[in-house]
Symmetry: C2
Subunit: 230 residues, 2 copies
Amino acid sequence: MNTNLKLSSRDHAMLMKTPFMSNLSSASAARLMAAMTVTSLPARHLIFRDGETASSFFCVLSGYVRLYRLNREGREADLRICGPGDTFAECLLFGNRRYRYHAQTAESATVAAFDLKAVRALAEQERDVAAALLTMLSQHLLTTLDCVANDRLHTAPQRVANYILAHCPVDGGPAAVRLPFQKSLLAGQLGLAPEALSRAFSKLREIGVTVRGRIIQVGDVQALRDVLRT
Amino acid sequence: MNTNLKLSSRDHAMLMKTPFMSNLSSASAARLMAAMTVTSLPARHLIFRDGETASSFFCVLSGYVRLYRLNREGREADLRICGPGDTFAECLLFGNRRYRYHAQTAESATVAAFDLKAVRALAEQERDVAAALLTMLSQHLLTTLDCVANDRLHTAPQRVANYILAHCPVDGGPAAVRLPFQKSLLAGQLGLAPEALSRAFSKLREIGVTVRGRIIQVGDVQALRDVLRT
DNA sequence: GCTGCAGTTTGATCAATGTCAAAACGCGAT
DNA sequence: ATCGCGTTTTGACATTGATCAAACTGCAGC
């Protein structure tokens, strides 16, 4: 674990691209950055635990972070996979005091930690910070609702088709997607066991989807759309 | 459908108890209420449709509203059941323009509709309104994450046990809960078919949970907690 | 180019839940 | 108290996905 006060220019650029910081005045941005610490973390590093008292919320600058909860038997269920630009634990800014899930890096990652109290205070003072948080929370809430709907409405191959379509150049013909991370992570994100993801891919092979390593080739995007109608 | 500009005192009291309006200055509250319309709706009334252009967000004052999405075959999946004090479609305040699900009254209900534009403008002016929205969105996001975790981590009997525990006086001995609505609604809220809910109840009978109509008697609350450990 | 290991796929099996149909129940109206 | 209808429960069955184990693959390091 390596904590830097100085941002790499790549991290800085990523930070400024996040919905959270992209529309702020430079004064607000500067004050936020003063309440921030950037850390490089190795793969599989536990960032915080479910139930721990919360002191920060986070923004992923590079790599991926897995948010998950355990049941009492110890089985894990992923709630979300956060990639570059995603924030997590922001819902603790108002009203809550403890983290509600575990957060662990999936691969090595760079993460910005914002002091909750400081940001809370800043949001009360500066309208543009409050507005940025509102936008971020709204967006996050919609995404999470989509997740519930996806779980409740779609079978495994449909979830995978959905995912591919969401990450595809949108024309109707052939296309290719490169997965940004391991398949087991994708499985978790879609609420599936890795084996179920694998079987979903092999069902999609029947309609012209081929998978080699992280590369997914789609013969006909329209055919994928039709999977969602079945 | 009956739209009143004048609030009943019961509706007014409910409105003031919502997390959304309870901490506002009287000036902000008054301006919000000026952007609001209260409507009494019959059972099974469609409030808005998925994909429709959004003009308002809503707060339930009495009765229950079901938010759901359809898959392409027409099967419905509930995303949330909103009861008195709950708000919905607030995530559209920032950034989005269309409703993302259908909303339908489950039984006859009274609903307050807030003009999105007006509230958006007010939030930009008044800090306390922005703060109320932030609290509301945070809370809502946490609830929705709990929903994802519940779906992914728990079996049907565990979800039901969870629900009962959340609505139970919290001592360790016997207790009783009265369901606020039909079982088929509860099934939807828990992401189950009505038959699955029924079978979950009958499995819980083995550990001393008896159900008659809407009344649930729990012999031993601790035994229910133990169900979550299995 | 090999080797070794983590990650992935495949197969067999099982548990959980959805679906459809029919019987039973509960509740409000009479 | 009884009736009648909508809701819930039960049964039989089909489907989906989880689990465990074993085989396979791809890639990093030699």
